[in-house]
Symmetry: none
Subunit: 194 residues, 4 copies
Amino acid sequence: MKRNKPKYHQIIDAAVVTIAENGYHQAQVAKIAKQAGVADGTIYLYFKNKEDILISLFEEKMGSFVKKIQEALAGKTEAAEKLLLLVDHHFSILAEDRHLAVVTQLELRQSNKELRLKINGVLKDYLQLIDEVLKEGVEKGEFRPSLNIQLARQMIFGTIDETVTTWVMNDQKYDLPALSSEVGEMLLNGFSIR
Amino acid sequence: MKRNKPKYHQIIDAAVVTIAENGYHQAQVAKIAKQAGVADGTIYLYFKNKEDILISLFEEKMGSFVKKIQEALAGKTEAAEKLLLLVDHHFSILAEDRHLAVVTQLELRQSNKELRLKINGVLKDYLQLIDEVLKEGVEKGEFRPSLNIQLARQMIFGTIDETVTTWVMNDQKYDLPALSSEVGEMLLNGFSIR
Amino acid sequence: MKRNKPKYHQIIDAAVVTIAENGYHQAQVAKIAKQAGVADGTIYLYFKNKEDILISLFEEKMGSFVKKIQEALAGKTEAAEKLLLLVDHHFSILAEDRHLAVVTQLELRQSNKELRLKINGVLKDYLQLIDEVLKEGVEKGEFRPSLNIQLARQMIFGTIDETVTTWVMNDQKYDLPALSSEVGEMLLNGFSIR
Amino acid sequence: MKRNKPKYHQIIDAAVVTIAENGYHQAQVAKIAKQAGVADGTIYLYFKNKEDILISLFEEKMGSFVKKIQEALAGKTEAAEKLLLLVDHHFSILAEDRHLAVVTQLELRQSNKELRLKINGVLKDYLQLIDEVLKEGVEKGEFRPSLNIQLARQMIFGTIDETVTTWVMNDQKYDLPALSSEVGEMLLNGFSIR
DNA sequence: AATGAATGAGTGTTCATTCAT
DNA sequence: GATGAATGAACACTCATTCAT
C-alpha cells in the first residue's frame, strides 16, 4: 500500500505548500517534485497522475478533518452542542493550518468540474456527519420536526464555507474561531422550535 | 460605446453558452467566436482579451441580476419580506437561465485567482444590497439589535449559493424556486427576535 | 497617375514618421493610416499592399536623394572633387532628415529579403552614379588604371553606409557632415595613383 | 553547462540551416526543431526562447570567427600584413560556410532592433580587434599619425561587409576570397603614409 | 473617392507524462 | 525504486487586406 510509504505523504504535503504558495495554476508537477525533494518521475510511482495527487490530498486532509470533528462530538448528547462544536472545530482546524485553508477554500476550486465532482465525493462523509446531527436534533425535539434536512445542511455548510472563504480572501487577518459561537447561534436559531 | 453594439452582447451570450456546454477550460476563443457567428478577430474589436470577455459577462449578467432584485424589493416595507423576495428571485432568475446557472456556479469559479478577485468586485453590489436589508431589519426592530451584519450576510449568501450549487450539481433536476420560502424562513429565524 | 495626388505623398510621409517613431515591426498599416489622417482602406486606393508603400517610400526619397547629389556634382570637372561632394551631400541630406535616416539605416533593413532586393533595385541609380565618377577618375588619370570599379564602389558605399549607420545607432549625437572630408580623403587615398 | 551538451550545438546548427534555407521570418521554432531532430519542447531545455537561439547562434559563430582571425594574426608583426590577413580570413571563413554567410549578411538583419543591439554587442570584439590593428599601425609608423581610428574601422568593416553582402546577394557565384588582396590593398592605401 | 468593421491564417511556449538508464 | 531528459499537443492574439456602404 502506497499510503504507508513516507514519500506518499511527503509528496502530498509538498503539494499543499506548493499550491498555497504559488496558486493552483502555477503548481506544476515539477515544482511539487522539487518541493518534495524527489524527481519528477517519482511522483508517478505514487500517483496515477496530477489529478490523483489533488484528490489524494483532499482525501487525506479531509479524512483527518472529519475524524477530528467526529472525535470532538463523541460523547456529547445535545444536537445543539454538537453543532456549535462542529462549527468551532471547523474554524479552528483551518485557522491552524493556513496553507490548507488557502488550498481548500481558494486554490482547489480552480480545478475542473470533473475533479470537483470527485472532491465532492470526499466531502460526503462530512455532509453526512452534519445530517446526522440534524436528524438527531429533530428526533430529540431540539429542532423543528418539519426541518428539511438537506436544506438545513446546505445552510450550515454554505454558511461555514462562505465565512471561511471570506476570511481567507481577507488574508486571514482576523480571528476566525472567535466567530464560531455567533455563527453557530445564528444557525441554531434557524432550526430551533420557537 | 461598444456595450451598445449588438455584437457585444452576441459575443457575451455566445460565451455563456460555450462555457456552459464545454466547460471553462474547453471554451477557447475560437469556439466562442464560432458560437457567436463572428470571426476570431472580431472578438478583439469588442474585448481587450479573453479575460475581458469573462469579466464583462459577469458584469452584464450580474448587473441585470442585481437590478432585477432591486426592482423586486422596491416598495416593500418589511425587511423580512425583502429577504424572502431576494431569495426567491435569486433562485428564480438562475432557474430560468440554466446556462447562466452552470457558468456562475461551476465554471467561472475555475478561473484564476486574479479573475475571481475581479468577479468578487462585481459581486459587491449584491452583497451591499443584502447588507442594506439586514441593517433596515435591525433598525426597524425586525431583527436582533445585536446582529453581526457581516456574518449574517455571509450566512445568507453562503446558504443561497450552496443551495444553488447543489441544485446545479444535481443537474438542476428539482424545482429550485420551490425551496425559496423554506430557505428564507430558516434564514429569518436565524436573525429574528425570539 | 497616383503619384500626383496629394494623398500619395501624405501616406508616404506618414509611413516615414510612423516607422521612425515606432520601428518597422510596430508600423502597422492602421497606424500609418491614422498618422496620414485617412482610413485604413484608403491606403489601398494608392498602394497595392504594405510592401508597395515601403518600396514607393524608398523610391521617392532615394530618387530625390540621387537627384540632389547629381545636381551637386554637375559642372564639376575632377572626379576627386565629385567624390568628396558625394560623401558630403550623402551625410548632409541624412543629417537634415533624422526620421529618414532612422528609416533607411535601421528600420527598413528589417524588411524581408524580397523587399530588400527591390530596395536594392532602387539603389542601383545611386550605385551607377558612383560607378560613373570612378570610371571618369580612371579615364582622366586621377585614379589607378587598375582600379576594380565594382570593388571600389563597394568600398565607397560600404564605408559611407557603415559611417551613417554607426551615427544613427549612436542616436545621431555627433556632427556627421563634419566627418565627410576625412572619410572622403581616406577613400580617395585608396584609389589614387601613388 | 548547456553549452557543452551536444544538443545545444545541434540546435544552433539546425537554426543556421533553417534560417538560410527558409529565411528569417519563415524559420519557426517547429521547423528548427525538426531540422535538429528534436521535439519542439526540447529547444526550451537549452534556450530561454527563440531570440535566445539567435543570439547564441551569433555568439557561437562570431566567437569562433573572431578566434580564428585572432589566431591568424598572432605572430605577425606588421599591421599592414595583419589587415590583409584579416580581410582574407573574413572572406574565406564566410566563403566556406555558405549557410552562415546568408544568415549573418541577410537574414539576421531582419531581426528587430532589440535583437540587433544584442548582436552588435557580440560584434564589439571584432571591431576592437580591428581597432587594435589600426592603433598598432599608427604607433609603428605604418599608418598616418592623423588617422581617425573610428572612421578607419568603419571604413574597413563597412567595405568588408558590403563586399560580402553583395557577394551573397549575387548568390555567391564568384570567388570571394580571390578579392581579398585587392580590397585589402585599397584599404591600406587609404591609411598609408604617402 | 473614402470609409472602417470584419476577416482568419499563423506561431512561440508550457507542462503533464513517459521511459531508458 | 529512482531519475530527469525528452516529448508534443494545444491556444490566445495580431494585423494586412477586403468590401458593403
